[in-house]
């Protein structure tokens, strides 16, 4: 190991340059450690503590600049010092934009004039301010942060609207812009269908189904979950429809949301009516009549939304593999369950996937409980205790307060799964496994030990535990879709081909006397 020292006498560089030079010096190939600092006694003390102090450095004055390089050989030290000298000459020279970290939106916008979109994920207390800065710099915004007040959201969206910019969010977790998935998204082929979604995993599901049916996406514009509330008034969804209507590549538009506020639904459907392109409307739990009156194409489920979109976009419906419900399988599972095993327990990472399964169950059963139930009587009082048919959105604030989302950290869901698996009244446990950008690197893998354990325990007690899994992803996603499915099947898990089928299968598995 060799150490070389250079003392630049009475040399002053501003702090930003010094820090930048120091960082770059430490990145020079072959350099184990590089130090560029003023020659103060205290800095020499630090050098001594890390074993770099030399007599030459001892003699440096407070106004001198000390440069120390430690590398494997003398030659490497020398070449590093030459490289550092070059850096001094350039005083922080240029780097490609991809390597540069900017500390503010203003500096990033100034340095990358061709940029037109900012993805913002900061503490909610500061998110609105950063978003406004981005809009002021004429950047479209995807605001991942939550905990932004509704007043701030309205102000931001109005400002963006005035400037002709997209304000996706706050709390917008999914978008695909220019074929690039942002935050949570899937690898789907490019196509001619545009999506505006107020539901993150709902948008993911529809985009993935469109891909599965051979279609593709132009843009997936997220709005954030509150966009269709009475207060916000659907500003982003309305602008999103307009943007997709003006986009030449988009032939069909799909809207996805939980049920909007009535007045907002009216506004959105008025825009659907005036839109020159076909619009598929999938408002989970929504009503068909109003959509049809507006000239829209109503979809009751995410699968139906995808099928309608690809057909409107030019696919031949007769040639589609619609992945019909497997009735022989339903009969087979029903035969395995005891009369006591009456209930579905859904443990979801995706809020919209939970919603869809819950609404499908509600079509058939009365006693459907959830932490996200709209019906007050069926909203769980204690989210840690299931009742009858229970569907849990484990990505909801109820579960994620102070903890990571289950798409990132599955531990909460694993614990709950093991609890549900012990309940003799449970007929089927339904779970989603979300692949793609931003998700866990092996969502199935982390659940497998618990699944195997629960299955074995149920068998020991002489009951069949039906576990139904749905893997949300495409053949282009990472981790590999087929491998994830195979792992589940090998563990005895039944696989649903879509969110819709998952909900239908779950409710039918536990149906009695049919």
């Amino acid at each position: 190991m060799s150490t070389k020292v250079v003392i630049k006498q009475s040399t002053y560089f501003d702090s930003v340059s010094l820090m930048s030079l120091s960082t770059k010096a430490n990145q020079i190939e072959g350099v184990e450690q590089a130090v560029i600092a003023m020659g103060t006694d205290m800095n020499k003390e630090v050098l001594k503590n890390v074993g770099l102090l030399t007599p030459e450095l001892e003699a440096a004055k407070t106004s001198d600049l000390m440069i120390v390089v430690k590398a494997a050989t003398d030659e490497l030290c020398e070449s590093a010092l030459m490289a550092i000298e070059e850096l001094f000459k350039k005083k922080g020279g240029s780097k490609s934009a991809t390597e540069i970290k900017y500390s503010t939106i203003d500096s990033a916008a100034a340095s990358i004039p061709e940029a037109n979109l900012a993805v913002i994920s900061v503490n909610g207390a500061f998110a609105a301010r950063e978003a406004r800065k981005a809009l002021e710099n004429d950047l479209h915004v995807m605001l991942f942060s939550d905990n932004v007040s509704i007043e701030e959201e309205i102000a931001l969206k109005q400002f963006a609207h005035e400037k002709g910019l997209l304000m996706m969010g706050p709390d917008c977790g999914t978008a695909i812009i220019g074929n690039v998935a942002l935050c949570f998204g899937n690898a789907v082929r490019k196509g001619n269908i545009g999506i505006v979604g107020a539901s993150g995993t709902g948008s993911q599901e529809v985009s993935v189904r469109i891909h599965d049916f051979g279609g593709g996406i132009t843009q997936l514009i997220g709005t954030g979950g509150r966009d269709l509330s009475e207060q916000v008034g659907g500003i982003m969804m309305l602008d999103g429809i307009k943007a997709l209507e003006e986009d030449e590549a988009t032939k069909v538009i799909v809207l996805i949301s939980k049920p909007p506020a009535p007045s907002v639904q009216e506004k959105v459907l008025a825009q659907v009516k005036s839109c020159k392109k076909p619009v598929v409307v999938y408002f989970i739990g929504g009503e068909e009549t109003a959509v049809l009156e507006a000239g829209g194409h109503f979809a009751k489920t995410s699968k139906e939304a995808a099928i309608k979109a690809v057909v409107l976009a030019g696919a031949n419906e007769d040639e589609l593999n619609k992945r019909a419900l497997n009735w022989p399988l339903i009969e087979e599972v029903r035969a395995k369950l005891t009369p006591e095993q009456k209930y579905v327990r859904g443990l979801f990472c995706g809020g919209t996937l939970c919603d869809e399964a819950m609404y499908l169950a509600m079509d058939k059963y009365e006693d459907v409980y959830s932490n996200i139930q709209k019906k007050a009587d069926y909203k769980l009082k204690n989210i840690h205790e299931s009742k009858a048919h229970t569907f849990l959105d484990m990505g909801d604030d109820d579960f994620t307060n102070g903890k990571p989302h289950p798409m990132i950290d599955p531990s909460t869901r694993i614990a709950r799964f093991l609890e549900e698996a012990k309940d003799p009244s449970v007929g089927v446990i339904l779970m989603d496994f979300i692949l793609g950008f931003g998700s866990h690197e092996d969502p199935v893998g982390v659940m497998l030990p618990a699944i195997i354990e629960a299955k074995a325990q149920a068998a020991k007690e002489g009951r069949h535990l039906e576990i139904l899994g749905y893997v949300l992803g495409t053949d282009l996603d990472t981790p590999n879709f087929d491998e994830q499915v195979k792992k589940l099947m090998d563990a005895g898990v039944t696989i649903a081909s879509s969110s819709t089928n998952a909900g239908l299968l779950a409710r039918e598995f536990v149906a009695k006397g049919e």
Partner: protein, 288 residues
Amino acid sequence: MARANFSGTVHSIFERTINLTCSENGELYTIGNHQLDNAPNTLIIDVKGFSELGLSVNTPVITEDSTLVIGTDLRIWIQQATKWEGELPSYPCDIEGIDVLRRNVAFTKNYVDVYGKTGGMKMSSQPASPFEKEMSRMLIQRAGMLSDDLANNRIGSATQHAISLIGLGPGLTPSGDDFLVGLCSVYKMRNISSCLACPFFDEIIRSSQALTNEISAITLKKAAHGQVRESLNNLLSCMVSGSMEELVPALDKIIGIGSSSGTDILLGILCGLERNLEAGGNVCLPKS
């Protein structure tokens, strides 16, 4: 400069500032471009930058007919310059004021956690080198000991720990110096609840001459006399009586100073304010 009889030499040249050594008192004076805020010993002029003006270190500087003449090529007309005198705000001495300050201190702590720059007092999660890691460790440890001494009114020990920070840290103005600038600015506020005796500040001024470079030493000296740049006065005013909306831009301005300097200054301010909020009670009346 105000008397228009300045003489000295160019000490150092940066893009946005040049420093001049005054031959009369040996102090540094700064000429800054319009991007800089007002500060002690600082003249702000309407110029884009200094690095391309062909100036060199040790160039003589004189005043001539209300003009500051630097070398042969640069003349600055100072007749119409207005004098700026910053003033630190008063520390609140009523319950409501203390509550506002407490709220703003809590907000600022959170803000520094999120936006503060690492590399100095705020340790990076991925230090660039063992040197950087050790430096941050020492800074944090020594600032902690100083804070603890102040909390327990051990002024002698506090003085020693303050001195142990001088000259410690990366950058032109070492982080330890920046931290002390922030701390001094708090303890120099009028009506501050925990007074620090003059020897504490005198010792900082004296030690800084030997332990840090001249540019940092003059900043520290001024802060120890209660003279700080305008953005720092503004920030302290916002801390004492401002709303969140007023506080955030003031914080941004400070965080934008240097590389980690602004963050280090803020941590010094927080340290000082927290100690005083804990102490509460006695109000040190301004001397008549």
